[in-house]
Symmetry: C2
Subunit: 189 residues, 2 copies
DNA sequence: TACGCTCATGTCAGCAACTGACGTCACCCT
DNA sequence: AGGGTGACGTCAGTTGCTGACATGAGCGTA
């Protein structure tokens, strides 16, 4: 047995989600999270840049998957079709997570403005990366940014419905329906 | 003459923008801003909820104008057309500001992740308000959210180009061109 | 076996972002 | 004249976050 319990990072994530859900984000101190994980405050901040980041640990992987799927989309696909491939990849990855945990996390984030800010920033990062991937496919600006951003809007709206109890279908279905809806809204009069 | 110099709020805004531009957001303390405006740190936080908010003072008015324009759009207009009316209103209001100050502000925000987060949050607030206005016009969900969000994406992309030296046309023109671009991207294959 | 390196964590001190409580004083209204 | 109001100052405290340094188990190497 090692000097310390294993997976301190994971323990911090669990502790943080639990405490944020129990007492609220503002009422939770970094020291409390660390104590619950059997660690110190300083160690918390060595693993996560700030108190919010602990809820967004998987976002790097998600971004990689989305970008890879956009880059791998059929060569004939238009910008929005390529982005839709990225959305499928996102739905696949996110759909693997335990839905109750996803909902808890969603509720915590929705309840706090600072956390909503961070989530928006993450999604904006995805959008920037997707726009770059589209440019690599030969899409010019500002079409690339608009398509990428519109796609991430779909991701956000779909995720909101899926994790927010409003829609019981699998995430991939909610997502594809939202893409169709967007197309029809944009085509409309 | 009053007990204090007038317009302390405005002085704080000027001082903050100047200091953020000179030394960077992180290297500027609230006490420094307050001192430059001839006030105390405590007074700064009475006027602005936090260090970032001082750069977003006009956002409430902008949101009101956008929402009012959406609500006042011709009855026959579809969701995206109504949102475009809101974008025109935004372009009008923002176009009145001194462009050099707008660019300075934009550069400061672009240079700092925390400030970008806040800006995204503000625009997301506009989107939520616009979506509500669309619902009041009879647009159902998720079309309302998608149209509102797509519109705010256009606002962001156009503002980025206009304030970021990439496009010298008047803001209203940049905005309308971006709407057209979005429509064509969404219509594409 | 003994030595020394690495690296995750602990400890400690400190700054800066806020916040609450309370005092002060010009201005205004009656 | 006198009392209320509102904008600001002062002070003390909590918390987020950081840098510098210490510690000790695991591990390779002599």
């Amino acid at each position: 047995m090692g000097r310390w319990e294993p997976d301190s990072r994971g323990r911090l994530q669990e502790a943080a989600l639990a405490l944020y859900a129990e007492r609220g984000f503002d009422q939770t101190t970094a020291a409390q999270i660390a104590a619950r994980a059997g660690l110190t405050e300083r160690t918390f901040f060595r693993h996560f840049a700030d108190k919010r980041e602990v809820l967004f640990a998987g976002s790097g992987l998600l971004q990689e998957r989305i970008v890879a799927a956009v880059a791998a989309a059929p060569a004939g696909d238009g910008p929005l079709a390529a982005v839709t491939c990225g959305l499928d990849a996102a739905a696949t990855l996110l759909g693997e997570a335990r839905r109750d945990l996803a909902r808890q996390r969603h509720a915590v984030i929705a309840a706090n403005p600072e956390l909503r800010e961070r989530e928006l920033a993450k999604i904006a990062d995805y959008a920037a990366a997707v726009a770059a991937a589209l440019r690599a496919r030969g899409v010019a600006e500002p079409s690339a940014s608009l398509a990428a951003d519109a796609g991430m809007t779909v991701l956000r709206v779909a995720l909101e419905r899926w994790a927010g109890e409003a829609d019981d279908r699998p995430l991939a279905d909610v997502m594809r329906a939202a893409v169709a809806e967007l197309r029809s809204v944009a085509a409309g009069p």
